[in-house]
Symmetry: C2
Subunit: 359 residues, 2 copies
Amino acid sequence: MNPSRYLIIADGDFAPMTSKTANSVIRYLPDRVVAVLDRTQAGKTAEDVLGFGGAIPVVASMREGLALKPDTVLIGIAPQGGRLPAEWHAWLAEALDAGCDIVSGLHTFLSDDPVLREKATARGRTISDLRKPPADLPVASGLAKKVPGLVVLTVGTDCNVGKMTAQLQLTSALNAGGLRTRFVATGQTGIMIEGWGIAVDAVVADFIAGAAERITIEGGKDADVVLVEGQGSINHPGYSGVTLGLLHGSCPDALILCHQATRRYIGDYREAAWLELPPLTEYIRLYEMIGSAVHPTKVIGICLNTYDMDDDDARAACEKAGQETGLPATDPVRFDPRPLVDAIAAAHRRKMEKAPAAK
Amino acid sequence: MNPSRYLIIADGDFAPMTSKTANSVIRYLPDRVVAVLDRTQAGKTAEDVLGFGGAIPVVASMREGLALKPDTVLIGIAPQGGRLPAEWHAWLAEALDAGCDIVSGLHTFLSDDPVLREKATARGRTISDLRKPPADLPVASGLAKKVPGLVVLTVGTDCNVGKMTAQLQLTSALNAGGLRTRFVATGQTGIMIEGWGIAVDAVVADFIAGAAERITIEGGKDADVVLVEGQGSINHPGYSGVTLGLLHGSCPDALILCHQATRRYIGDYREAAWLELPPLTEYIRLYEMIGSAVHPTKVIGICLNTYDMDDDDARAACEKAGQETGLPATDPVRFDPRPLVDAIAAAHRRKMEKAPAAK
């Protein structure tokens, strides 16, 4: 089978911070993307809008997009709450009629829509709802403590600060350095890129930690390092429950704190400034204290997202974060990821030294 | 319409700690309960098993139960994960055939079962799944901060320590004392007793706090005090995500820490001893710190469950908890609830004094 050719819908929201799924697919699977549909940015390229992604065109209509012969239409933005904007329905019907599959990470399951489902069946196409959870999830009981490799979870100062992107960079660098490293996807974008995982924000609340436990154990098979994708933030008014369930279910040995250097308020990238972010040291205290209530854990590094700063400011922000926290700090997308790779390798050695010799 | 006559299924699990839903319905709506079905306790009365509930008989079969003319069969135990034991299906079919309605708080929705649904439709009976969440829940954004009355949330040292029971006692006592107090149910048992609420452990994970926010605001209309039913525990390996979502979504001004005095391990009432409970003072530190990350909050009292102790030990446990924490401590089910009622009334006065005079 040939790899898919994606047309990504990001209408009205294609931008560095808001179209998270679209951007990550463009960053990690650029050869598979034929176009992005956003009426407000039509005529530009992905590079124009994001600063990466090359000549991938932004188109103004489904018809224009279909002319570029995609075989899959991918929902590339995650509106708050994850539901389908009403007008997209017609576009998706048009795409199915043209013979495309659909891949979606919305909370509203497109495969439950009778019109779309009927069209897909009639055309022999598939609708993949990446947020649909497995039916048989357990309640977590701390089993992820027993993963033999080093479990590292990214935690954030807010949603959408670059946790997944940082980990994909670190996964490559760690594997290149000889540590068998597995990225465990916990959100729809990571699942699109890795091809497996569970969207923990979409499971029934009692099973958040159980979902995290299951995929952490799965990811831990034959891995030296398991990098579990973090979600939300421990002080996010809407999503903190998901964050804590993931923290307690995955039983990480180490945490990497992710922060967008210019972010001042929870939610301010959407103009919903709920809460002023406390200092990084306060986040470290919160995460270590609440995480260690189930399994001992330490923040071992700071991962900054500096996409909107110039090089000098970005370097200064990394230095400042390192000084404030006494921890290695870098932007692993922009600069050398080595400080964080070294911190993870050192934590891995410490865990192996402590492990019983018999293992 | 006459009030319902309940036959409660608690098969194999009718006991002081395990059949939580059955026990609470028996405690608060005893006149509506015609029998409990538990093959392992048949022949006893509720009083024999629980120490309250009088002559309500425990029966050995659905047939025996139906002979007592219930109009509603109620699922009275909450197995971990909340799914329906396979053999109960036949009993429920039998009950529908006999003209009963069904009320269930399981995670598996009985109204989705084709056989039961068809029988219910054919007989004109209803199947109420109390854990089925509303379809239109929001992502929380801190709106519950604006509730004018005092919002009090119970938090626990584990699941199943008596958070709901404590609050129902306090609700009566506060109303009797002249503070208009509303109990906000967040679990299936509370919903059975109060007649409204949302089971926050059954909503999609992204909407835990949103569900809590919605019902806290609803409960806050024309109330001086809103008592929000707590769930789980902040250090429970399986359920902590629900606990934190509820804490951040309801924005409580004050917390009451609930503890079963003889509990030593998380989950030990089910022989799953995951974690030794830290001291009460450590719980206070954890809950205040993580709760205040979204809305400033303080633990104002300790609520002990002493059901398995004699009177002297129970009094000693309350005294010890009071000394350890410097807070009012009592078992409001067994002893005078006044210390906690007074603490809530004082917190209410403090909030009203701080409120802008215009309100």
